[in-house]
C-alpha cells in the first residue's frame, strides 16, 4: 500500500515573504484581471468530462490497452482476413484434404511450378481450389484490357489453363503431368476463344501464385484458416448480439422494477430469483433441441426480410439468442435495479424532483448517465460468457452445424482426428482463448476506468 503523499509545506503558509512587505500594497495590486489571466485560470481549471476522464484512465492502463490492440487485430483477422485469402469457409477443395499447416495440395503444387515460369507465361488455375477440373459451361477471362471468352463442352480433368502474353494464341491448356519442375512444358493444346462472352459466362480470375493453406485443411478439404476466420466472426457476432439482448431486456426490467418499487418491485424480483435459481444449462440444452425444427419451419416460411436474415444465421445461433433473451438477463436486471435504487435516494435526484423536473427528465439526465458505467462494464463482461456458452453448445454438437463454423464447432470437429492432427484443435482453441482473454482484460480495464471507486 502506498503511503499518502502529504504536502511538505503546510497550506496555511502561503508565501514566506516579510510581513512588512505584505502590507506595502500599491493600487496595481487591486487592478482587475486581464483577459489572458482569466483565460489561463479557465484553462487551468478546465472541467474534464466523465468520458474523457475515463478514457484517460483506460489509456493509462497498459494491460487493457495491449488487450484492446490484440482484440482489434483479431477483429481484423476475423472480418478483413476472409477478403484477403482466396479460400472460402464452406468450399471443399479437391485433393486438398487433410493437409498440414503451410502445405499445398498436389494440384496446387503444379500451379506453383508453372508460376515459376512467369517471364513468358502466366499460369492460372481454372477454379481456385478445385484446379484439377473445369466443368461444362461458358467462361471468360479479362487480362490486359482484353476479354477472352470460351466454352467448354466436356469437363476437362487434370489440366490447367495458361495465358501467354506474347504468344499468338494466348490461351492454351496444359496437362498437369506435363509440367516439369522448372515450370516449362513441351505440349499444350491451344484453346479457341472469342472476345464477346456469352450471357451466362462465368469469370475466371487469373492467379500468379497459390496461397498456402496456412492452418491446413480438414478431412473434407476445407481451408482451416478461412474457417477459423469465419468461426471467429460468428463467435464475436454471437457474443456482441447476446450481450446487447441481455442489456436491453435486463436494463428495462431492472429499471422498471427499481423505479416502480412496492408490490411491483417485490413480484418482479421474486420472478428474477426464481429464474436465477434455475440451473440454466439444463434448460438451454433442452431449448436447443426444442427450437430447432420450429425455427427451421419458420425460416422456410419467411424467406425475405428478417426471417431470411435470421435464416442465414441458422437455427443453432438463433436459439442461442432466444436462450439469452429468456434466461441470462437476470444478472443485468439485478445490477440495474441496484443502481436505480441507490441513485433514487441521492440528493441530486431529490433536488431535481423539487425543482419540478419530470420523471422522464430525471431518468434521462440524472439516473441514466450515472448508471451507464455499470451497464457498460456488465455488457462487456457478458460478451465472453456468451462466447463461452456458444462454444460449449457447439462442442456438444448443438450449436452451429457444418458447413457453418464457430470456434466451438471447429474444436469439436477437430476431436475426431486429434491424435494425428492436433493443430486442427490448436488454431481455433487458441483464437477462442485469446478472444475471451482480451475481452476479460478490456472489461477489467473498463471497470477500473469507469468506476474508480471499485478499484483495488
Amino acid at each position: 500500500m502506498k503511503k499518502p503523499n502529504f504536502a511538505k509545506v503546510s497550506p496555511f503558509v502561503v508565501d514566506p515573504q516579510p510581513i512588512e512587505d505584505a502590507f506595502n500594497l500599491t493600487p496595481e495590486d487591486f487592478a482587475g484581471t486581464t483577459m489572458e489571466e482569466r483565460e489561463s485560470i479557465v484553462e487551468k481549471h478546465k472541467s474534464v468530462s466523465y468520458w474523457k476522464d475515463a478514457a484517460r484512465r483506460f489509456r493509462a492502463n497498459t494491460v487493457s490497452m495491449v488487450a484492446l490492440c490484440i482484440f482489434i487485430l483479431i477483429l481484423l483477422f476475423a472480418f478483413i482476413g476472409p477478403l484477403l485469402i482466396p479460400y472460402n469457409y464452406e468450399d471443399q477443395y479437391r485433393s486438398a484434404q487433410e493437409l498440414d499447416p503451410m502445405k499445398y495440395s498436389d494440384s496446387e503444387q503444379v500451379v506453383l511450378k508453372a508460376a515459376k515460369n512467369a517471364d513468358a507465361f502466366f499460369a492460372t488455375v481454372i477454379q481456385p481450389g478445385s484446379m484439377t477440373a473445369i466443368r461444362k459451361g461458358s467462361y471468360y477471362i479479362q487480362q490486359d484490357g482484353q476479354t477472352y471468352a470460351f466454352t467448354v463442352t466436356k469437363a476437362i480433368e487434370k489440366t490447367i489453363l495458361v495465358y501467354r502474353k506474347d504468344a499468338e494464341n494466348k490461351l492454351s491448356l496444359v496437362k498437369m503431368k506435363d509440367i516439369g519442375d522448372d515450370g516449362t512444358w513441351t505440349e499444350s493444346t491451344p484453346l479457341e476463344y472469342t472476345d464477346t462472352p456469352e450471357a451466362d459466362a462465368k469469370e475466371i480470375k487469373l492467379v500468379t501464385g497459390i496461397f498456402p493453406h496456412v492452418f491446413g485443411t480438414d478431412s473434407s478439404g476445407r481451408d482451416l484458416m478461412a474457417r477459423t476466420m469465419f468461426g471467429a466472426q460468428v463467435s464475436i457476432i454471437i457474443g456482441i448480439a447476446a450481450a446487447l439482448i441481455v442489456l436491453i431486456i435486463g436494463s428495462i426490467y431492472g429499471s422498471v422494477s427499481g423505479l416502480a418499487g412496492g408490490v411491483t418491485d417485490f413480484v418482479m424480483m421474486r420472478i428474477v430469483e426464481l429464474i436465477y435459481s434455475v440451473p440454466e444449462v439444463l434448460i438451454v440444452l433442452l431449448l436447443q433441441v426444442v427450437l430447432k425444427d420450429p425455427l427451421q419451419n419458420w425460416f422456410d416460411a419467411h424467406k425475405t426480410g428478417i426471417g431470411g436474415l435470421l435464416g442465414d444465421l441458422g437455427t443453432g445461433i438463433v436459439s442461442i439468442f432466444i436462450t439469452f433473451a429468456l434466461l441470462y438477463w437476470v444478472t443485468m436486471a439485478r445490477i440495474v435495479r441496484g443502481q436505480v435504487l441507490q441513485l433514487k435516494k441521492q440528493e441530486f435526484v431529490t433536488a431535481a424532483h423539487a425543482l419540478g423536473a419530470s420523471k422522464w427528465r430525471i431518468i434521462k439526465r440524472h439516473l441514466l448517465p450515472n448508471a451507464v458505467g455499470a451497464l457498460v462494464i456488465t455488457t462487456c463482461l457478458q460478451i465472453p460468457s456468451a462466447i463461452f456458452l456458444e462454444s460449449f453448445l457447439s462442442f456438444l454438437g448443438l450449436g452451429v452445424s457444418a458447413p457453418m463454423a464457430s470456434l466451438g464447432s471447429l474444436c469439436s470437429d477437430a476431436l475426431a482426428s486429434i491424435e494425428f492432427h492436433p493443430h486442427r484443435l490448436v488454431f481455433p482453441a487458441v483464437t477462442l482463448t485469446v478472444i475471451v482473454l482480451t475481452l476479460n482484460l478490456i472489461g477489467d480495464g473498463l471497470r477500473d476506468a469507469l468506476d474508480p471507486r471499485l478499484k483495488k
Partner: protein, 313 residues
C-alpha cells in the same frame, strides 16, 4: 434459524416445481416421439403412448409426474433402457455416484488450491509471485473446459501415455487426474482471483493493523485474522460453482467417456426419453438448489454478523 431453513426449503420446492413445469413443457415441445424408430408404425407408437400414459392430456401427465415424484417414483425409461426404473438407472448403475465423486473432487481441488494461491498472491502483492499467479489465473479463466480437457487428453494420454485416455468408471486414482483438473481449473483460478481481491480488502482494515501492532505474527495474522473475513465472497461464489461444475461435467464426461449423469442427460435429450430427461433435470437442479442453501447457511457460520431472517437485496 430453523424458520429460515423451513422457508428456504419451501422456496426450493417451489423452484423445483417450476423447473419441472418448464422441463415438462419444453420436452413435450421437442418434435417427434420417443417411440419413433425405423420399424415403428403409427399403431405401435399409439400403443406405446398408451402403455406409458402419453396419450393423456398434458396437464394430466404433468400432474401424474408431480404426484409420482412426491412419492419418490421417477417412472421407467421410455427408450434408452426401456422399462428400467429411472431411479435404478440414475442411482444404482453408478451414474449419480460417478458424477458426484467427480464434482466433489473438482470442488475440493478448486477450494484447496484456489484459496491458498489467492492468499499467497495477496501476501506477496506486487512481487513476481503475485504477477506470475495473476497471469496464470487470468489465462485460466479464459480457457474453455473442453479445450483444456482435449489438450490434456492429447498430451498426457496420447503422446506421453502417462494417464489413461478413457476414464470409464473411474477405477483408480490415475483416471481421476485429468477429468478433475480440467473440470476445476476455471474455478481454481476464479477462486484464487476472488480470494486475492478480498484478502487485500481485509488486510487494509483497522483490526488487522491493531493485531499487527500488538505483535501478531504475519502467518497467524493471515491465517487466523484475515482469512475468515476474506472468505465471504468466496463462499458466495460456491453456489454458482456447483452449477458450473455440473455444466462442465457434460463436456468432461463426454471427452473422457465417463458414463456419468451429465453425459446421460445430454443423451436423454437427444433421444427424447422423457422420463429420463425429467429425472436428471430434477436431480441436478435439486443438487444446485441444495448447494445454494448450504452456502447461505455457511455464511452464518463464517460471519455471525449476517442475519438470515432479514432478507436484504
Amino acid at each position: 434459524m430453523l424458520s429460515y431453513i423451513v422457508k428456504r426449503l419451501l422456496g426450493a420446492a417451489g423452484t423445483l416445481l417450476l423447473i419441472m413445469a418448464i422441463t415438462f413443457f419444453l420436452m413435450n415441445a421437442i418434435p417427434g416421439s420417443p417411440f419413433l424408430t425405423e420399424k415403428s408404425t403409427p399403431q405401435s407408437i399409439e400403443l406405446a403412448n398408451k402403455k406409458y400414459g402419453l396419450d393423456k392430456p398434458l396437464i394430466v401427465q404433468f400432474k401424474n409426474y408431480v404426484f409420482n415424484y412426491l412419492q419418490g417414483d421417477l417412472g421407467v425409461s421410455l427408450k434408452m433402457q426401456e422399462g428400467t426404473p429411472v431411479s435404478k438407472i440414475i442411482f444404482e448403475q453408478g451414474k449419480f455416484e460417478i458424477s458426484i465423486k467427480l464434482g466433489l473432487c473438482a470442488l475440493a481441488l478448486a477450494i484447496v488450491i484456489g484459496i491458498p494461491l489467492g492468499c499467497i498472491a495477496a501476501y506477496r502483492r506486487g512481487g513476481w509471485l503475485d504477477g506470475f499467479l495473476r497471469v496464470i489465473t487470468t489465462v485460466g479463466v479464459a480457457i474453455p473446459t473442453f479445450v483444456l480437457a482435449t489438450l490434456m487428453l492429447v498430451f498426457f494420454a496420447v503422446h506421453l501415455g502417462w494417464l489413461p485416455a478413457k476414464s470409464n468408471t473411474l477405477p483408480d486414482f490415475k483416471s481421476y487426474i485429468m477429468p478433475v483438473i480440467s473440470l476445476s481449473s476455471y474455478y481454481t483460478c476464479y477462486i484464487a482471483k476472488l480470494t486475492r481481491t478480498s484478502m487485500l480488502d481485509t488486510i487494509n482494515q483497522d483490526y488487522i493493523r491493531t493485531a499487527k501492532a500488538k505483535g501478531v505474527k504475519t502467518r497467524s495474522l493471515i491465517l487466523k485474522h484475515a482469512l475468515r473475513n476474506s472468505l465471504i465472497p468466496v463462499i458466495t461464489y460456491l453456489g454458482p460453482v456447483t452449477a458450473g461444475i455440473i455444466t462442465g461435467s457434460f463436456v468432461v464426461e463426454s471427452t473422457f467417456q465417463i458414463p456419468g449423469l451429465g453425459k446421460y442427460f445430454v443423451q436423454s435429450v437427444l433421444n427424447r426419453d422423457y422420463t429420463v430427461i425429467m429425472a436428471t433435470t430434477v436431480v441436478l437442479s435439486a443438487l444446485v438448489i441444495f448447494m445454494n442453501l448450504v452456502v447461505d447457511l455457511a455464511y452464518k457460520i463464517v460471519d455471525p454478523r449476517i442475519t438470515l431472517t432479514a432478507k436484504e437485496d
